[in-house]
């Protein structure tokens, strides 16, 4: 098996009101095919930045390192090309699109991706069937399809809408950026089930979270601890429990 997702020495910065600010400072990470990995780390350690850089947001400047995905130089691709290749990012803060009907948005996205992957586009009927099956699975109301994308959605509805998009776009590698934050326990179960039912030898995921709780439902193959723009420790699912009890201090000290 060749490298699936391989990040080496990744450095990235952002222009913070005129002064460059380094956020990722030489990050190494590998996620093999078919595995689910978790990243935990204190606020501000650069977790969302990592997810944005992987998805291709261009206000982050990559100043060093490399990322290969399915043997391709991921950083050379446009965001939509990365999505076509199988990457998906569930946003920590999903963006509102006023006036854009959610169902129409989903269908446009699904068909854009299908076209790029050389698959036949879905007509209105086939699409609706596909989307209905998923919304039922995620206990989402039809009403959410009729509203404008994320406009007036509650925190939980937004997260579910992200998972809905993930399932419709059929990625081979999904990044979930704090998809669990702001969810009650029932919603958390539904979201976790939405991810778990995709688990297969052909699906990998990187689950970014603050809470051990999510990892009780989505049990990761490996857990990475991130701080100051680097992965400072990696291990089995047990690390999550240690973190929950003792906090990040011991890892931070060990890395210092």
């Amino acid at each position: 098996m060749s490298d699936f997702l391989k990040i080496q020495g990744l450095q990235a910065r952002i222009d913070a009101d005129g002064t460059p600010k380094d956020i990722l400072k030489g990050l190494d990470l590998e996620v093999p095919k078919g595995e689910v990995h978790a990243i935990m780390g204190p606020n501000g350690s650069g977790k969302s930045t990592l997810s944005y850089v992987l998805a291709g947001r261009d206000d982050y400047e990559v100043t060093g390192g490399s990322v290969t995905f399915k043997g391709q130089d991921l950083l050379a691709l446009e965001p939509e090309e990365r999505t076509a290749l199988g990457l998906f990012l569930a946003f920590q803060s999903p963006v509102e699109l006023p006036g854009v009907n959610n169902a129409n948005f989903l269908r446009t996205a699904v068909n854009a991706v299908r076209r790029a992957r050389g698959e036949a586009e879905l007509d209105a009927v086939a699409f609706l069937k596909a989307v209905r099956a998923e919304t039922k699975h995620l206990s989402m109301s039809d009403d959410m399809l009729k509203r404008a994308v994320n406009v007036g959605f509650s925190g939980g509805e937004k997260k579910r809408n992200e998972v809905l998009q993930m399932r419709l776009l059929q990625p081979s590698f999904a990044i979930l950026d704090e998809t669990d934050s702001g969810l009650d326990i029932d919603a958390l179960r539904i979201v976790a089930e939405g991810v778990n039912s995709l688990r297969s030898p052909d699906f990998s995921a990187l689950v970014i979270t603050h809470h051990q709780r999510l990892l009780d439902y989505i049990v990761p193959d490996r857990v990475h601890v991130m701080a100051h723009g680097r992965i400072i420790h990696s291990g089995g699912p047990d690390i999550a429990k240690t973190l929950e009890k003792q906090g990040y201090t011991q890892f931070l000290e060990a890395a210092a």
Binding site: A55, G99, L169
Partner: protein
């Protein structure tokens, strides 16, 4: 849309001397000498076979025009227009055009293709010579304009609806034309309206008799008359008591014209419980990237709700022209009558638009709604100018105005200029305005879902315009959406 060199040259040539083009190919042409004087007006009237009253009417307009000056209050700039340096009447026996699609500006063809217009229709739109005769037999059903027009006329005649060129109406229905022409937009209303009144040569006349719901949408859509767009169009629509009509003007495909100055007048009259819906998609040539050679579009559109509970609704999608000067208005004279204005104006490159509406409330319980969406990109400049006037008798009249501007890039401008005049204490006027930008967040979110940057902009812009687009008749709405996206191509990134 970037124009290729060929277009630029063609347009420059056309702009310099409009009709040289015609003489070059030795086409027989019925043409008035350059310049505008009483003789020109007389000649137009004579060539059109008009009755004396019509000529008198034109002359009155012409004399008024001589006393008037071009308005300067709008937020637009252009080199002075030399009104004497143009032909006011020219009827080519046959329009010279490109001989095949190969000779047509490829950019234009690309746009047609994006709009999903079939090849034979593209040829027709681009004015390829003989395209009409060479239409393949198989497409007769779709595009045989003669047969479409025939079925069309028959259905309308059965309903008692009159829908014909205004020149025909002047000859065939003089009593109706004489009764209503110039009653909504008087001959001396403004500089461009006076000019139009003196020299108009084309346009439509619509009459819907009492109690009749017009059985189909009436349209100047290119599928029915591709080539009859004139420089000085005059349209008059009358809906008698309880009559209903929906009228579509324009074309989503980009339209070229040798004439740089366009000054149309549209008059609508709605009697008791009547309803007129007037929808426009305007996509005149906007000029090259620098705005050279584009059309100047100075339009006067006004409707009067004469009868109680009558309704006039204007919906417009304005994407073309180098300069647009246009304020479709409603005079609410009937008690409880309703005026509506829904507008999307898009400007890109160096386009300028000064557009908006006037709602004049004369009677009690009248209501008006204004939804204006302005999108500016490139170096363009767009102004919304709206007047809401509540006259002393407009007891309990209501207006709601919402103006939203969307900026793409940081070189463009958007201005909102609301004028509110209220002379009745019980009248209520509400005004809301917003200005926003397409955010990087929104673009990135869409692209991370697989959309190209252009599709993402199209989607966001269409979302921004949703409240207006939903007012358009179905087939127009679909094309208008595509058109918005095409108009903004190359405006981001």
């Amino acid at each position: 849309m970037p124009a290729v060199t060929e277009t630029r040259e063609t347009v420059e040539k056309l702009a310099k001397s409009s009709y040289e083009w015609g003489f070059e190919t030795d086409i027989e042409m019925d043409i008035a000498p350059k310049g505008l004087n009483e003789e020109t007006v007389r000649l137009i009237s004579e060539r059109k076979g008009e009755p004396q009253w019509m000529l008198d009417w034109r002359l009155k307009a012409f004399r008024a025009w001589l006393e008037m000056e071009e308005p300067t209050w709008a937020h637009i700039h252009h080199p002075p227009i030399d009104y004497q340096d143009a032909h006011y009447f020219a009827q080519p026996k046959k329009k010279p055009g490109p001989r095949s699609l190969d000779e047509v500006d490829p950019e234009l063809l690309k746009t047609y293709a994006k709009l999903g217009i079939p090849l034979h229709e593209q040829a027709l739109l681009a004015g390829v010579e003989g395209a009409e005769e060479r239409l393949p037999v198989a497409v007769d059903a779709v595009f045989d304009s003669v047969s479409v027009a025939t079925t069309f006329r028959k259905t309308l005649a059965e309903a008692g609806v009159i829908f014909c060129p205004i020149s025909d109406a002047i000859r065939e229905h003089p009593e109706l034309v004489q009764k209503y022409l110039g009653t909504v937009v008087p001959v001396a209303d403004n500089f461009f309206a006076a000019l139009n009144s003196a020299v108009f040569t084309d346009g439509s006349f619509v009459y819907i008799p009492e109690g009749v719901r017009c059985p189909m949408e009436l349209s100047t859509y290119f599928r029915i008359n591709a080539r009859n767009t004139g420089q000085f169009e005059r349209t008059l629509i009358i809906a008698e008591d309880r009559a209903t009509v929906s009228y579509l003007e324009g074309c989503t495909a980009p339209q070229r014209d040798e004439n740089q100055l366009h000054a149309a007048v549209v008059e609508l009259v709605a009697m008791e419980d009547a309803s007129i819906k007037y929808s426009t998609v305007q996509n005149w040539y906007p000029g090259d990237d620098e705005g050279r050679g584009g059309i100047y579009n100075f339009v006067t559109k006004r409707g009067i709700c004469r009868g109680a509970r009558s309704k006039i609704s204007w919906t417009q999608v304005e994407t073309g022209s180098a300069i647009t000067w246009k304020y479709p208005s409603c005079v609410l004279a009937g008690e409880g009558s309703v005026g509506e204005f829904y507008s999307v104006a898009v400007t890109n490159n160096h386009q300028q638009a000064d557009t908006g509406t006037k709602m004049i409330h004369l009677a009690p319980n009248t209501r008006s709604t204004i939804i204006a969406k302005t999108i500016s990109a490139g170096h363009s400049d767009s102004t919304y100018r709206g007047l809401v006037r509540m006259q002393p008798k407009a007891r309990n009249a209501r207006n709601f105005t919402q103006c939203d501007s969307l900026l793409i890039g940081d070189q463009c401008g958007a201005h909102t200029v609301p004028y509110i005049e209220s002379r009745n204490m019980t009248a209520r006027v509400e005004h809301e305005a917003t200005t926003s930008k397409i955010s990087e967040d929104q673009l990135f979110y869409c692209r991370s879902r697989g959309l190209s940057e252009e599709d993402a902009v199209g989607l966001i812009v269409n979302g921004f315009c949703r409240e207006v687009l939903k007012e358009l008749p179905m087939e127009f709405a679909v094309e208008a959406q595509k058109l918005l996206q095409i108009s903004l191509e190359g405006s981001v990134g």
